[in-house]
Symmetry: C2
Subunit: 207 residues, 2 copies
DNA sequence: TGTACATCAGTGAACGCGCGTTCACTGATGTAC
DNA sequence: TGTACATCAGTGAACGCGCGTTCACTGATGTAC
């Protein structure tokens, strides 16, 4: 259990690793009450410390949320990369699997997903978060480029990657927001993801 | 200015039409601070009444938000219908125009858009809201069916309509959440919408 | 037309609540000699 | 090994705040006779 980060002083002096435990508590709260419903006080309570303790590790409330978002983006990117790597390079299946990882993440931790992709003030100014976000899209662009036989920097690749992203993003939100119930015939994720990958990457370019 | 609703007693006895003015105030607040940032107290302040006055028109806070969401869904459906009607029946342009109306709505009132499509407790149990939501998707299904030459109730129509919805929904959220900045080459909405309509409705079915 | 009454939208004061953040503190740990 | 000192994570009490909701009320309006 006690996986100590390499550069920590030893293993724990006072509490152990309150910072990590607070982040874990905040993740739980964000899942339970949404990004706006979380409170520093309750996170401290869950971690078993006083309500003032978090301020030894974070400047203020928004900084805690930013830390949780950063950690979430890391996990999302890793999941997407792993999914893409599990399929043949350049295949439609690799693209669809990546989309599946994205949707799975949204379903598994909708709160963090909302936090990561919502418009929270301060996130745009946080360079680390923006870089991590760009890294996620980079994974998509790589897979799309391999599939199209184009350069990852090609504008056409970017356009197709954005289409894929929009679709998967929309499907994720509609799913976690329970808006798919109005659909009578509901296909499974994989059919949708393969169909959309084929539609976006298989068809000739626009114009 | 004073557009009196037909079934109101006369024009106004005490305040005039506090209910409508509260809804307008809440819309402003939802745009300014998001669906979770709105408070009954501030809405009352904006409408120029005491903080207890809203409770003469709404049971509690969630009910006010539900009223705003219902009104928003009405406007969204009307905008989508008007956009579709402005183009040739059964054309890809009609579908794209509908998508454009959807994106425009999200851009124009992102707060209400989030409120309408977010997962707010109580919304699922509100039959009126669910019906209005289904009506919106119905407009999409109609246009998709006309374009495909299929019945609106055909499962294939539903599947295609859902793909279109996912894409436009995702694009809307990525736009209002400022997540498109990571894209270098950004095409305009219309190119995207036409391309996606063609990809989803023009290509042969999945499988 | 005038009077008595019912209605009910809006008042203003009050309640209890949980919050974010601050502050001086304490006490365990690590370090220099 | 022992002692004196610096560090700093966590304490607990306190602050001021805005909130949602309630309550008895008041006074303008509409209505019945």
């Amino acid at each position: 259990m006690a996986d100590v980060t390499g550069d920590a002083p030893r293993s724990g002096y006072h509490h152990g690793d309150l910072r990590a435990q607070l982040i874990a508590a905040v993740r739980e709260l964000v899942e339970a009450h949404g990004p706006d419903g979380f409170s520093v006080a309750e996170a401290a309570r869950r971690a078993g410390v006083s309500s003032a303790a978090p301020y030894k590790h974070f400047r203020d409330r928004p900084e805690i949320l930013r830390a949780v978002a950063a950690e979430g983006l890391d996990r999302l990117r890793q999941a997407m990369q792993a999914a893409a790597d599990s399929r043949p390079h350049g295949s439609l299946e690799a693209v669809a699997a990546m989309g599946q990882a994205y949707v799975d993440f949204a379903r598994r931790e909708p709160g963090v997903f909302r936090l990561v992709f919502g418009l929270t003030e301060g996130h745009e100014a946080d360079q680390e978060l923006m870089l991590k976000g760009a890294a996620c899209l980079g994974v998509v662009a790589q897979a799309a480029a391999a599939c199209l036989g184009l350069d990852p920097g090609d504008p056409e690749t970017g356009r197709r990657a954005y289409m894929l992203w929009s679709f998967v993003h929309g499907h994720s939100f509609l799913t976690i927001d329970r808006k798919t119930s109005v659909m009578r015939e509901q296909a499974d994720d994989w059919s949708y993801l393969m169909a959309i990958s084929r539609a976006v990457l298989g068809a000739p370019g626009p114009g």
